[in-house]
Point group: C2
């Protein structure tokens, strides 16, 4: 998976299972035993990133609540995505986020549950007005897109801290309209 | 290009130049005379969509200004993107929007210029506080992403009118924070 991340960052999705075997220093046959094709590699890579994010978000719920939890979630998300870098920008699904939630795609649904719980807490704490939680989560995941985070850190040269704070403010302001 | 749009909507980017020739009813040699590879087809398809959007946005500047111009721009954008449908979701660049603007990618730069002019007018009219125009345009293009528009119209079943109005409100609220 580390080798897959390096190949994705360098070449995008234009690599083969033999390329992956070479990059990871294992036999081609071993790679073919694990994956039917490169699309399985992308799916597993994506699953790992989302698992990592979901684990971080779940960890926050024990320690913080309301606005602080929301801000900490954005900060951790940006820090993780800045670490993933360009690799993550190449494996974005062409299907909608809510479409994947409704068909119970496991990583997408797990992420939705974590984010929806935070939005519902913000509404319960009257930080945000009552609202359509599906739309609210869609706005949040859309603004914290990996490509946006890479653009702000690499193209504009912002620190991960500034990106997290600014995107958190933008999401909260967007959702403050009832 | 119509045939390319149909193939993109049906199969994503998984088609070849001979597939395109068959779908458009022209000789394979003719398709090879126009395109060196399918990536050229995607690039031309993307260029046409953005040209269409930029032409619509430029047309608005003669007729409206300020907040009305911003709202009309969002409405026209959503109506166009709803027409493009899923085809457009498959050809999104993995590179950042601002990264493409800074390297003077022609369609991206033309779109940036139109959107930046509208943001600057909103600031001049005091609808929005003074702000970083690059960040403001990034928030705008990110929330009006084709995948978001397809998700809201197809997954949630919202009308294009409702999507345009809601996204316009969210963008404006996000940018109202100084």
């Amino acid at each position: 998976m580390d080798a897959a991340g390096e190949l994705l960052a360098e070449r995008g999705t234009a690599f083969t299972l033999p390329d992956l075997a070479r990059a990871s220093g294992v036999a081609t046959a071993t790679v073919y035993r694990h994956f039917a094709g490169v699309h399985d590699v992308f799916a597993e890579f994506y699953q790992r990133l989302i698992d990592e994010l979901v684990a971080e978000l779940a960890g926050l719920s024990a320690r913080t609540r309301g606005r602080r939890r929301f801000e900490a979630a954005c900060a951790r998300w940006v820090a993780l995505a800045a670490g993933w870098g360009r690799a993550a920008t190449h494996i974005r699904s062409a299907d909608g986020f809510l479409e994947r939630v409704r068909r119970d795609d496991p990583p997408t649904s797990a992420l939705f549950e974590e984010l929806a719980a935070i939005i519902e807490e913000l509404v319960a704490d009257e930080v945000l007005p009552p609202q359509d939680v599906e739309y609210a989560v869609l706005v949040w995941v859309t603004l914290l897109d990996e490509r946006v985070i890479v653009d702000l850190t690499s193209t504009l040269g912002w620190s991960a801290k500034r990106v997290g704070r600014t995107l958190a403010e933008s999401v909260l302001a967007a959702l403050a309209v009832p």
